[in-house]
């Protein structure tokens, strides 16, 4: 019986290995939805036909997947996107010195990428803006109206991890500016390890209120609602894109970034709830954020 098992395992390994583990990076199976086949009247691809590799933070994924599909359909150029924590993907492509475009979830990670000399600085392009807001469960069961309510005993508060997550820096700055940090900080239920982790704590009922992005409420309007912050407290961030320094097709990578920042793309970003303008333009962030 064991002999039969050995033979079966060998056979399975050989057959599947021949079919599944083709060498090289261009082995993606066609995946409808994200990577549709180029349409018959696709414009001339702005490039050499090689797939573009994008390392993206999770914050931009809903719109980015749709935009990548549109780009492929329009130009017939394949776009492979891997996403994760903005810091993790930065480490991955920096270590490998591989990839074409970096799109972190917020501009502070692009600052880190520039400091590491991992992206071409002149190619940095703002795609959309992220506006902080108080996010609560749909229906606002705890009747949170302003930041001052974070000091209430019955409110479980979650903010991003300061110093590690941009939402955490912003959350702490807002609470410090409103003289609430010393009252709220001891009662913070937990810290989000990322922007999305902070959101998930609200969605899963671990928090009554978070300081998140207003786009959270727009993307999950059936579960979350946002309460605007006063303009003087809205430390707007942005989602940028840049060409990776080791890209073997920088012109094609720039063409993709130009497409993502184009007027046509703006409609799709707006559809997914991202802000196209910076409401705090002219107002500087304070507190070292």
């Amino acid at each position: 019986m064991l002999r039969r098992l050995v033979v079966v395992c060998l056979g399975v390994a050989l057959c599947l290995g021949a079919g599944a583990c083709r060498k090289g990076t261009g082995e993606a199976a066609p995946a409808p939805g994200v990577q549709p086949a180029p349409s018959a009247d696709a414009e001339a691809a702005p490039g050499n036909g090689k797939a573009l590799t994008v390392f993206a933070g999770s914050a931009s994924m809903p719109a980015l997947e749709e935009l990548a599909g549109n780009y492929e359909q329009r130009y017939g150029a394949k776009v492979d996107i891997t996403s994760g924590g903005s810091g993790s993907v930065l480490t991955q492509f920096s270590q490998e010195q591989f990839g074409d475009v970096y799109i972190p979830g917020s501009d502070d990670f692009m600052d880190k990428a520039e400091a590491k000399d991992a992206v071409v600085k002149d190619t940095r392009t703002v795609l959309v803006y992220l506006i902080p807001a108080i996010c609560v469960a749909k229906g606002n069961p705890k009747k949170v109206k302003a930041v001052a309510d974070f000091a209430r005993e019955d409110i479980r508060v979650v903010i991003g991890e300061p110093k590690a997550v941009c939402l955490g820096d912003i959350g702490k700055w807002i609470l410090e500016e409103t003289d609430l940090w010393s009252k709220v900080e001891p009662r913070i239920a937990s810290y989000g390890g990322s922007c999305e982790d902070t959101l998930n704590k609200l969605l899963l009922g671990e928090a009554d209120a978070i300081i998140g992005w207003d786009v959270f409420a727009k993307q999950q309007s059936d579960k979350i609602e946002a309460i605007d912050l006063p303009l003087e407290l809205s430390g707007t961030r942005n989602i940028p894109a840049a060409v990776i320094k080791w890209s073997e097709q920088p012109e094609e990578a720039q063409a993709l970034i130009d497409f993502l920042a184009s007027d046509e793309a703006k409609g799709i970003w707006a559809k997914h709830g991202y802000a196209l303008e910076d409401p705090s333009r002219g107002m500087a962030l304070g507190g070292g954020v």
């Binding site: 390994a13 999770s58 591989f98």
Partner: protein, 279 residues
């Protein structure tokens, strides 16, 4: 003679356990139920979070089809390779010279104690495009399906080796000696005496290895990334989807739960038939 004594002692122990009485059975049953409620019970919570809409959403099903297919292919390959290189290692650990055994055992089981993310970083540093060995490869391995398989082997193979080694150790030496006395060589003795007697443990080790490979996440996402259709396994798909759509993520989790449960039922049935317990 010694083997027969061991056999009848074992049979007597099993009979005495079964005949200890209703209270003992009740006690062990209650503790087992508590154990299951603690470890498996929380999975029921997945079904309470918008289960039907999440499961039936076309985009969720498409992600699941793609990711589950890749997970299955890579985990079966990884398990096959782990079996081929892990079984000789298990035999050596169980039957080899005792000198250095403790160190070897510790090395073999070291990956089990490390976070998979650490293993993924190590793989990237060694086999990545600029890695110690990876820089000399004609074709890059990182961020390909090959990287998925390698990550799964590194994480899951130690479980197979550990279980197989323990199983082989419990095969009485006297039987192997008798086999050699009758003229069988070393390999023949292992193939026809040792491994058949240890088959229950080896099969369990294979199932455990496969299950661990299927659920592998940390090393995979660091070494292979999460490219949909190429390196995005079901666990990484669940994590990625969690970032922007909790319902879809829960839907994928339910799909993985149902698939895993069905697979385990089939596997345990096969093991029970291949190596029936004497009761």
């Amino acid at each position: 003679m010694a083997w027969h004594r061991t056999q009848s002692q074992g049979t007597r122990r099993r009979r005495s356990l079964a005949s200890m009485g209703g209270w003992a059975t009740v006690f062990f049953l209650v503790v087992t139920v508590v154990y299951l409620l603690f470890t498996v019970g929380p999975l029921a919570g997945l079904f309470t979070y918008a289960p039907c809409s999440a499961l039936l959403c076309p985009s969720t099903l498409e992600i699941a089809r793609r990711a589950l297919g890749l997970s299955l292919r890579c985990s079966l390959i990884a398990t096959g390779i782990a079996f081929m290189i892990g079984l000789p290692a298990a035999i050596y650990l169980a039957r080899g010279p005792s000198r250095g055994r403790v160190l070897l055992d510790s090395l073999v089981e070291l990956p089990i104690s490390l976070p998979p993310l650490v293993l993924g970083v190590a793989l990237l540093l060694v086999w990545g495009r600029r890695g110690l060995f990876g820089q000399h490869l004609a074709e890059p391995i990182s961020f390909t399906a090959t990287a998925v398989v390698i990550a799964q082997i590194v994480v899951a193979a130690p479980f197979f080796v550990r279980i197989a080694k323990t199983s082989i150790e419990h095969v009485p030496h006297s039987l192997e000696e008798a086999s050699r006395t009758l003229g069988a060589g070393t390999f023949q003795t292992y193939l026809r005496v040792t491994l058949p007697l240890a088959r229950a443990g080896i099969l369990s080790g294979i199932v455990t290895c496969w299950a661990r490979a299927m659920s592998e996440f940390g090393a995979t996402i660091m070494f292979a990334g999460s490219f949909p259709g190429r390196t995005q396994t079901l666990p990484t798909a669940i994590y990625m989807t969690m970032q922007h759509d909790v319902s879809a993520s829960v839907g994928l989790s339910v799909i993985m739960l149902l698939f895993s449960a069905a697979s385990f039922v089939v596997a345990q049935t096969c093991i029970a038939r291949a190596a029936p317990l004497r009761r």
